[in-house]
């Protein structure tokens, strides 16, 4: 088993999840806090990575972040090297690729909150930041958790974007899925099986948490522990 690839994959998935949470929380709130052309368009764009083949997404990123485009040249000046073939490049790719998986659960969670609570809090003079922290987040805990775990597992299983953008560098861009692909290509099916089982175990554990934890939370809520 390729331990280096496992550690890299976990690092990539954790970084992507943290970064996406920071992006998705305000974005999802903005999407549900109104209606209109702009919001519908943003929501459609956010959902696009669901439709685009990951290899195509990876190819566009490869070209866009390369030295042939103004954006690419700016990025190279900022970072000091082309983003492709680096961990930073994979992180950018993963954030885009997993964006819908982070945003969609939050959108559905936020939109199910009774606006009465928010109006009451507002009437009592709570600041928007406080309303978000003390009302919105606790009430959509399950959605936040779903968003985190879906982002994490989706990034763990990412292949096409990494294949196009990564360059298969051990410790920097060779993730588990690339390692698995290489093992299959080398006809090393035993190693491929071990890698695949590890991927399945990680995903199963994460998904198990989704279905386990919220149940516990609601029971705690029933007992009044969740103020």
């Amino acid at each position: 088993m390729d331990i280096e690839a496992l550690l890299l994959t976990l690092r990539l998935a954790l970084s992507t999840t943290a970064l996406l949470l920071l992006i998705a929380l305000p974005l999802a709130w903005w999407i549900v806090s109104g209606r209109g052309f702009g919001r519908a368009l943003v929501q459609a764009i956010v959902a696009l990575p669901l439709v685009l083949p990951p290899t195509v997404l990876g190819f566009y990123l490869l070209v866009m972040m390369g030295p042939l485009t103004p954006i690419g040249r700016l990025l190279i000046r900022l970072v000091g090297h082309p983003l492709a073939f680096s961990f930073a490049g994979l992180l950018v790719g993963s954030v885009l690729y997993s964006l819908p998986f982070a945003v969609q659960p939050l959108v559905s969670g936020f939109s199910s909150i009774d606006p009465g609570y928010l109006e009451a809090a507002n009437g009592l003079g709570a600041s928007p930041g406080r309303i978000f922290r003390t009302i919105i987040l606790p009430l959509s805990r399950r959605s936040v958790l779903t968003s985190i775990i879906l982002t994490f597992t989706h990034t763990v299983g990412e292949f096409g974007v990494v294949l196009m953008l990564g360059g298969n560098i051990p410790g920097a861009t060779r993730t588990m899925s690339i390692s698995l692909y290489d093992q299959v290509q080398e006809f090393d099916y035993a190693a491929a099986n071990r890698t695949a089982l590890t991927l399945i175990a990680v995903a199963l554990a994460a998904l198990f948490v989704i279905y386990l934890l919220p149940g516990r939370m609601s029971r705690r809520a029933e007992r009044g522990e969740l103020a």
């Binding site: 490869l62 390369g66 030295p67």
Partner: protein, 264 residues
Amino acid sequence: MRMISKRPRALLAATLSFSALFGGLTSAPAQAPAKEIHVDAAADLQTVLPVLAQAYEHATGIKLKVSYGSSATLATQILNGEPTDLFLSADYTFPEKVVAAGLADTGDPIPYAKGTLVLWARKDSPLQPLHLEALTDPRVKTVAIANADHAPYGRAAMSALEKLKMLDQVKPKLVVAENIAQTAQFVESGNAQLGLISMTTASTEHFTQIGTFVLVPNVYPEIRQCAVVLAKSEHRAEAHAFLDWLRSPSIQSSLPKMGLTPVQ
């Protein structure tokens, strides 16, 4: 993974000049009903086969449906029952695996061309005029190479670097692509500064316009591109006929301008 053919304009131009070249072949009337043969072809043929397929269809009425990939990907798919008629690998070992599995129609892989490895860089690169020593230039941070385990050109490139005693210096700079077509893409898009790519790609109109190449010294094991016809194929005769055509002197003599060397 399957790659879809690109560079339609260069292709069209090449095709036009080729149909003129092979005009003589059309004298054989295409009376037989149009048939198709399925070909799994190594990624270095992505620039060559569309031209040849057009000429072949023009001459015989038989269409080639081609899937491109690294030779290893294609071999894996064939060994796992992919229903194809002909496998054009970029080496000897992958078709040999098909033979060993008892899936081939012949006892040995059949050579049809020899591949050439080149070092390629964009014309706007500071490394121009390009020479082999650019590989060890301290300004070079990334060198694209095909995966040595899946792609025969990658294996040749690693072997060449080792023989030229450059491997230790170049190894930290290597970015590894899944097949030789993707290797070219890495360096064409400017993300990698240098690429060890196939001469088939380097000699296309697009690549000669935007870059230059130098030959890698011939110290690597020969890239002997071999083919097998699949025993289970329903179009075995047609597949063999195409392979014979590909190995015929007139076609072999047209290979060099597309970056391949004749086998005889």
